[in-house]
Symmetry: C2
Subunit: 481 residues, 2 copies
């Protein structure tokens, strides 16, 4: 079967969905529940032999009994039932069968590998495309179509991902959203018996709603097809790739997970770079890179200005920033002269990074110094290193924190220069949920995100991601945005 | 003045404290407030010319007017007033003056450097020791003595720290506690005009309440004294050192922060290792290493067993674990035979790492596999890689999560083998505070901490810290605990 241009629209934009095996008691029923909960506007048909209704939808004993047409079917029962279901799908003109069912070839069992071959042969003969087996499913954040198990945030954007692992696609959405990522489409494609990473890459490459492509790959069956797709997509938009199974142990893990044959990480890394894509080594880096590419313009220079506090934080941060290849230039002479005028008592004590905790009562506030940096041609890029250590009681800490963030947002809104924020990232126990300081941290983070300031939890992570971005734009000469 | 054995007891265990400049309206008053709030049992004397009472304590116009003796004085007004205050302290037999006051030599101003010299000369002539200038102060978690601005958690332990930066000492306590660290004593010693890093290292080295020493150093004035103290302390207990000001930019930042002359990181790194201490490169690593040394026995082997889920998470985790130098051995043959008996349908699909999401209904649960690993001599060390991606609704996710954690805690309690937990670490915005999934994450984290399972937010961070620990015990042959 040849891929046609836009041919995966039926995967991401089906008008009707049937869920085989859905009941209100089992996990498969949650597929139906989420379609309702997230506001999918198409038709939903639970397939259930015994129950007349599932989560408010009329249930049918089989796919053949559904009155209208069906575009997309979720197979949520044992994998051995798939050939029968495929026959029903063929009778109904179904376009795509999503095999949530797993325990397939990844178990290493010969009879299950044979079953896979039979399923693929049947699907091809009927002209039905397959997602999976062992696939969590599809998200379209804009149309609210959701056959995965993620929470589906209301915000949507232009970051689309193909993620071989269902758990990692869940983590990507959950943690990516916390860091401000806005997603368009996600395919958690599992064992890739039919539709595979290359199909999704090709689709995203020409999808006008996708600006950045993220890929989590455990293994590919056709390396030539994959690298050709990757190269083509990378010529059009940034493609960020993370590989599961880079080590000996990781390779074994991917085999038992999605039946993938992983390869050496060095070979992968080189090939990914040669294709023009951007490799990520760790899951955190995978998210960081997407945040950088989603929010920042095609930045090429590395002269950075930093402001925040306190002193110990900025000392360590300066080290991390330089480790990532940024140049923390000395404050330009004309800026120093301006500071001398405005803050005569401490002007020569102010440096880059600027420790904003020393500015109190000096005549300049954090926003003034940041604005000088934003206006000055010597700085390519700005970092606000949000003070976490305010040592005051609730009312004073809250006031100082809000005032600091106000200043950063004010300057960021002027759009004079690319800017990122650094803010610590530690999850809390139940005892912190009622603690004012941690609630203030939560409010701070929401404010940064709402202001569309790209956010990273450590200076090293933030500057490494931005450094990759500058390298990318220097290498490609691209001027996206 | 010569340091005597235990001579810093008057710093960490004073029986009376005066706070110069404390009022209910200013920040210095918060020193008084915290002493009350955290339950300090000694005498507290606010020094205030105008107010008769501060936070319930009778205030005095000057130190000389206090009726009883005073051990420890916080200087919370302008640094230029210090000579006068020292005279009052001398008249009253004060043992230590804590100069919270900053804007001293770190400003680079000659007149302030001269003032420092005068302050030091006066203090020596009076036999008064100085902490600071620019020092946040002292914590004794056990006696509830607190002249810093940290929250003072009720739990105390045996991790003691000397932290040149007040902000970093605040971060260390706040973030360290979230990761399960239990502190004994902390000195945030600022510019180190008199009492310096070496004094605190020497004290902690022979302090029976301190088992692990943490140091954040920006610069040292007497390198020979420092390395001698470090070497001696390291021969007695693990000493973890992080240096602020490793890069060109970082060096400049430390000069303006605590007036320190920082040196090349490579020289430092080598010297720290030669002294037998353990260098940390990043603040997160600083905390991770302390967690590892605090909770784990003198582990020497690197054969690791991992359990958790889902499949994508364990694939990436296996890569990170191997990168840190651990050996993810194949499941031993006798363990495989036991699994064949107990889980005939999937026994040959179970590997190391074990993806616990495949175990459902198989005949073995996560605790069974973990217990087999804990009992088997082929494993040196175990990692529970807590599943975050349960894709179910609240009731099901909560049940699965609790059952998973129950199993880990059950096996951990048997004490058969060293164990760490990996659990993602992302702070949340306000919208997550009321989200059941994030509340469940918070509860999970509290449970791990309460069970005394050392916890790390990523596999890479956890395994790097434990790898340093195994290297340490292999190198030194020590058998602490």
């Amino acid at each position: 079967m040849m891929m046609e241009k836009n041919s995966l629209d039926f995967v991401f934009k089906p008008e009707s969905v049937a869920v085989v095996g859905a009941s209100e008691e089992n996990w498969t029923g949650e597929y139906v529940q989420r379609l309702v909960m997230y506001g999918y506007q198409g038709k939903v048909y639970p397939i259930n032999l015994k129950q007349p209704q599932v989560f408010g939808y009329k249930a049918y004993p089989s796919i053949k009994d559904i009155p209208g047409t069906v575009d997309y079917v979720v197979q949520g029962i044992g994998i051995e039932r798939t050939p029968d279901i495929l026959k029903d799908c063929a009778a109904k003109g179904v376009k795509v069968l999503h095999l949530f069912a797993g325990r397939s070839s990844e178990t290493g069992r010969k009879e299950l590998i044979d079953l896979d071959h039979e399923i693929l042969r049947l699907a091809k003969s009927y002209g039905i495309r397959l997602i999976g087996p062992n696939s969590l499913g599809i998200n379209n954040f804009k149309t609210r179509f959701c056959t995965t198990a993620h929470d589906l945030p209301a915000d949507f954007g232009t970051v689309s991902a193909a993620v071989q692992s269902g758990g990692n696609s869940t983590d990507l959405v959950r943690w990516g959203v916390l860091q401000g990522l806005k997603f368009g489409k996600i395919a958690s494609y599992g064992n890739a018996l039919d539709l595979d990473e290359s199909d999704f890459i090709n689709y995203y490459a020409q999808d006008p709603e996708t600006k950045i492509i993220m890929l989590y790959i455990e293994g590919v069956k056709d390396a030539r097809k994959f690298f050709s797709a990757l190269k083509n997509a990378s010529s059009l938009k940034p493609v960020i790739v993370i590989k599961g199974g880079k080590s000996n142990a990781g390779v074994k893990a991917t085999a038992s997970h999605t039946a993938s044959v992983a390869g050496s990480w060095n070979i992968w890394n080189t090939a990914i770079r040669q294709a023009g894509a951007i490799p990520a080594h760790y899951f955190e880096e995978f998210i960081d890179l997407a945040v950088a590419f989603y929010y920042l313009p095609p930045l090429k220079g590395k002269r950075v200005g930093i402001i925040g506090g306190g002193g110990g934080r900025i000392a360590l941060s300066a080290d991390e920033c330089e480790e990532s290849g940024f140049d923390l230039i000395s404050l330009p002479e004309d800026m120093r002269m301006e500071l001398k005028q405005k803050a005569p008592a401490i002007w020569d004590w102010i440096g880059n990074p600027t420790d904003m905790t020393i500015l109190g009562g000096s005549g300049v506030r954090n926003r003034d110094v940041l604005l000088m940096m934003a206006k000055h041609p010597d700085f390519d890029f700005l970092i606000v290193n949000i003070t976490e250590c305010w040592p005051f009681k609730e009312s004073t800490s809250t006031f100082r924190n809000n005032d600091e963030i106000d200043g950063y947002i004010e300057v960021h809104k002027m759009g004079l220069k690319p800017m990122i924020a650094i803010f610590g990232d530690r999850s809390w126990g139940t005892e912190q949920l009622d603690n004012w300081r941690f609630k203030l941290f939560a409010a701070t983070k929401s404010r940064i995100r709402d202001a569309n300031i790209p956010f990273f939890p450590t200076m090293l992570r933030g500057t490494k991601a931005v450094s990759e971005l500058t390298n990318y734009y220097n290498r490609t000469g691209k001027t996206r945005k």
